[in-house]
């Protein structure tokens, strides 16, 4: 029995491609919640530690590419998502691969 291993180099390349798609949240700025004046009220402030917001996993054994993205609303969610799909398909075509592509809009910021 063999164990399928994700294609990390292609995954990394596609992640970079997806991150650079207009409307995709490249880095996400988390917020922090702090209590105010000893009450249950909270005030939230931004932290200066952004985290990656897009992830792509390529599974050659299953012939699948799965992308999870956060997006802003600079365009409609459908437009941004379709652009991500198109970019992934074009990149796969350049490398001579034909895989099933699934893009999940996981969250929205902005």
């Amino acid at each position: 029995m063999t164990t399928a291993t994700p294609d990390t180099s292609l995954s990394d390349a596609l992640t970079t491609l997806v991150q650079n798609t207009p409307g995709v949240t490249r880095l996400y700025m988390p917020t922090r919640a702090v209590p105010v004046l000893g009450t249950a009220h909270r005030v939230l402030t931004e932290l200066g530690a952004p985290v990656p917001a897009a992830h792509v996993i390529v599974d050659p054994a299953r012939g699948t590419v799965s992308a999870s993205v956060g997006i802003d609303l600079s365009k409609s969610a459908a437009e941004i998502g379709e652009t991500v799909c198109t970019r992934i398909r074009e990149q796969l075509a350049l490398t001579g691969q034909d895989m099933n592509v699934k893009v999940t809009i996981a969250y929205i910021t902005g």
Partner: protein, 218 residues
């Protein structure tokens, strides 16, 4: 993460149990673990400056949705908190607490909602949690109203299947309830039409609470 739903603790959601609602819709209201975390866990993590780094939180869409929702809540509540802080009277924290609790609910990734995609072998979906974030953001644009719970009723995983949106909201005292509810419905309808392929058959807005400032109380 539990495999069976716990009893729903959210009083605002209890009426769903009494009506003819699909089980899947009720399950969608189950308090979400945020990938094993609570909102308080996230607050503690962030208060600690996110050190040591927790990769689960950092890449968790549901945690990120919760953080985004908390951020929006900050902007909306800041004014009210400042007003109340200026009055040295006991504060009613319940409405803020209620909103925070619902952020946990809506942050659940939930079901996957498809788009129509022309390309072969290509699937594009948006998570139910992200759509709830859209609904909340739409509500944030309506003056004098704050969205609490929201729910998508119906099989959202099937294109063209009619779904209804149910929203509970808090209104700030002295705002016209029918007008605010109508504006909220319009804002939700617009954002769902623009950003999803959902077939929205109806939007029900329930004003479940009125927030009265201490000044109004006196």
């Amino acid at each position: 993460m539990s495999t069976s739903p716990d009893p729903i603790p959210d009083p605002a959601a209890r009426h769903l149990l009494d009506s003819d609602v699909p089980a899947s819709a009720v399950f969608a209201l189950e308090p979400e673990d945020l990938d094993g975390y609570t909102v308080d866990d996230l607050s503690d993590y962030l208060d600690a400056g996110m050190t040591p780094r927790d990769p689960v939180i950092d890449i968790s869409p549901s945690c990120q949705i919760a953080l985004a929702a908390l951020s929006r809540l900050k902007a909306l509540t800041a004014t009210f908190l400042e007003e109340e802080a200026a009055l040295e009277e006991p504060r009613d924290d319940t409405w803020v607490t209620s909103l925070l609790e619902n952020i946990s609910l809506e942050s659940r990734t939930g079901r996957q909602i498809p788009y129509r995609v022309a390309a072969l072998h290509t699937e594009l979906v948006i998570t139910e949690g992200a759509v709830r974030g859209l609904i909340r953001a739409a509500g944030d644009m309506v003056h004098g109203i704050l969205i609490g719970r929201s729910a998508l009723i119906g099989d959202v995983t099937v294109l063209d299947e009619p779904v209804t949106v149910e929203v509970d909201a808090t209104i700030i005292w002295r705002n016209n309830i029918p007008n605010a509810a109508e504006q909220l419905r319009d804002a939700i309808q617009d954002t769902l039409a623009r950003n999803t392929d959902l077939t929205v058959a109806g939007i029900t807005v329930t004003i479940s609470d009125v927030h009265i400032t201490p000044m109004e109380n006196s």
